[in-house]
Symmetry: C2
Subunit: 399 residues, 2 copies
């Protein structure tokens, strides 16, 4: 346990908004493992490793906080191993802040044959089919033993699309579970965030945000967005949530990381983001640039001796050509994934750092407009195909 | 082209033996990209990348020289791409010396349907079945365009086992080709090494070494060993070769890298080594330690919070536990391969650096005996299984 500030409600955690520009904010979130300037993009290290990169790569990219996942780590290697190692920071050699997701999303998206009961959820492991039972209390215990700085309440992420009546039911269950998590949580060197649910319905989102604010948390996740709904639906649901959340606590939009979504959510007052996009895209050979995404496997890059993004400050663009990355991907060399991941994480971290500076300098809207004018997001058709691919993958795992 | 020393036979290359201890030597091999202290272990970067690690990992491990492969790079990405990038050093971001193997070994072990003709070898690419023709002259041209510091003559590596009459024929062809390579080679900022062949027959090995010495090269490879023969056969063939090679030029035992073989070959006066062992073993989860090999996937390591090798100075053992590496391998995380590769390269580099110091201090035999007393090599049965697995893999590729 780290040293605590005496008698403060949020323990050693402090969130200070230092500048606002419209609804966008720039702040600092203080944790036992250091300060996190916000807004911030958090790379995902599901299984206690940000896929294909070393901790020191992340330090060099000025990553301030990373995610890990309770569902995955509970199943493998098991919380007892991580706890015995001295917690996640020691286990994965990452001394800056860590946030663990509760595993709610994974239980509902990844596990096989789940059954919701009044007390919690029974499910089968997607790895070996073994049976498990998660309750708000057991998930709190698991996250306390994993030892992240920020831990998340156990929630139910309703599927999309779903009937509004079901989404309400899942939301209300999430509120009950949030309360149980709050009572079960004991470690004051960990901040427990509640999670706003409510699907795409602004009235549910507002209700959820109000209810959780009444319970009182040192920070709030906004879950269940970017799961297949239109961008407009996402934005109005998000706006309903943020407008009902307290202004003096951090807001964390879960699982969102497309460049355009980051800037649009910052405009709504979101402070924290995580997404597998930079790491997953990297493994497909997809690289993020200010003009949009490029696939380095394409033949056009075969003899292109320029960096992925001229002027990019990342350690990859500093020394490697597109031709070299193209070669690594064509030759199935693991270094390709590593280098692409480094570039993509840098891109998103810098995009958000740039937004932060722009907020401080009162020119966020200009920053967003300039970026969006140059950036071509994948079109709706490509997004639909990606979504279908993902759904098939999940179905295959669960089958 | 780099600056040249005026009027020296070996151009900018100098090899100086600074200490001897029995037949073992400690020296320095000067190249246009820096000095290489010998004996030296050279990690293999077949496709212009040492698998799964970054250049700076290699610098941190004090790797002094790496290999790349002409056969592979000729087929993919093509020598014209590497040449346009400014050569291999630029292309793969490695500013220390590089050695390219000629591709002789790969043409005879990997390519499909090869046909030896008086002028060279016709073969089909193992990647796409396309037809190619390698001659000593075309291989010299390819290596000059790739731009390594040390390049190798095009040789025929006879299979093991093979009739002595065929091994002699392949050896004599190798001598003719070595002479043609010597005539075709023009870049004086590259050192061309001849390659001694002759299978397991000491008389052939001695004849080959003498013949190549008459031709005169700035260094000599010893090829076609560690291809399945007994350790004793290998050692007597090696001894016959080294005893007939000039003492003032570096000797490079190709493809050898098992710890016990490195020390036994250093005892015979070998100066340079390369082997895929540390990288290939790493991908199987096999880690090298002073006591022998361990497989990190085994259940016994699941909760073991000690480093792979207590006291090891590598960057992995400094911060990661066996339990973490075990988790990465069980969870199929790419970082596992990277960390295992870093540890294994460090292990072999340090083993050879330690041998060099021991030679300088006149205690090499003690160093070797101490290491071998503690180290349990895989037994003959395990070696046989590994060899069969490899043969099946090659057969599958060629089928």
């Amino acid at each position: 346990m780290s040293a605590r500030a005496p008698a403060a409600d949020d323990g050693p955690f402090r969130f200070e908004v230092r500048a606002v520009d419209g609804a966008a904010r720039s702040g600092v979130f203080a944790t036992p493992h250091g300060d996190v300037p916000t807004p911030v993009f958090m790379p995902v290290g599901t299984q206690a490793t940000v896929k294909s990169v070393q901790s020191r790569d992340l330090l060099e990219l000025d990553v301030r906080i990373v995610l890990a996942n309770t569902y995955h780590l509970y199943l493998r290697p098991g919380v007892e191993i991580v706890e015995a190692a001295g917690g996640l920071h020691e286990f994965m050699n990452w001394r800056r802040p860590i946030l663990t997701d509760s595993g709610g999303f994974q239980v509902f998206s990844l596990a096989a044959r789940r059954k919701i009961e009044p007390g919690g959820v029974r499910f089968q492991s997607h790895i070996d089919g073994s049976e498990h039972y998660f309750t708000p209390e057991s998930v709190m215990e698991a996250q306390e033993r994993l030892g992240a700085d920020v831990i998340m309440a156990f929630d139910e992420c309703a599927p999309y699309p779903a009937e509004k009546s079901y989404v309400r039911e899942a939301m209300e269950r999430t509120h009950l579970w949030a309360e149980r998590c709050r009572r079960a949580h004991t470690r004051r060197d960990q901040a427990l965030f509640g999670i706003v649910q409510g699907g795409v319905w602004p009235d549910l989102r507002e209700e959820s945000a109000r209810r959780l604010t009444e319970l009182g948390f040192p920070g709030y996740g906004i879950g269940g967005l970017s799961v297949g709904e239109d961008k407009d639906e996402m934005l109005s649901a998000l706006r309903a949530a943020t407008s009902a959340l307290p202004t003096d606590k951090p807001r964390y939009l879960m699982g969102v990381g497309a460049p355009e979504d980051l800037l649009n959510a910052i405009a709504e007052g979101v402070d924290m983001f995580d997404c597998v996009l930079p790491t997953r895209n990297a493994r497909n050979g997809t690289l993020l640039t200010a003009a949009g995404r490029l696939n380095i496997r394409n033949a056009e890059h075969r003899a292109d001796l320029r960096p992925v993004e001229p002027g990019c400050g990342c350690p990859v663009c500093a020394v490697y050509s597109k031709a070299y990355l193209h070669h690594l991907f064509r030759a199935d060399e693991l270094l390709g994934y590593t280098l692409a991941t480094i570039h993509n994480i840098w891109f998103l971290v810098q995009l958000v750092v740039g937004a932060r500076t722009a907020v401080e300098e009162g020119r966020f809207e200009r920053y967003r407009a300039d970026f969006l004018a140059g950036y071509a997001p994948p079109n709706a058709e490509a997004r639909r195909r990606n979504r279908e691919r993902r759904d098939r993958r999940v179905a295959a795992r669960n089958g």
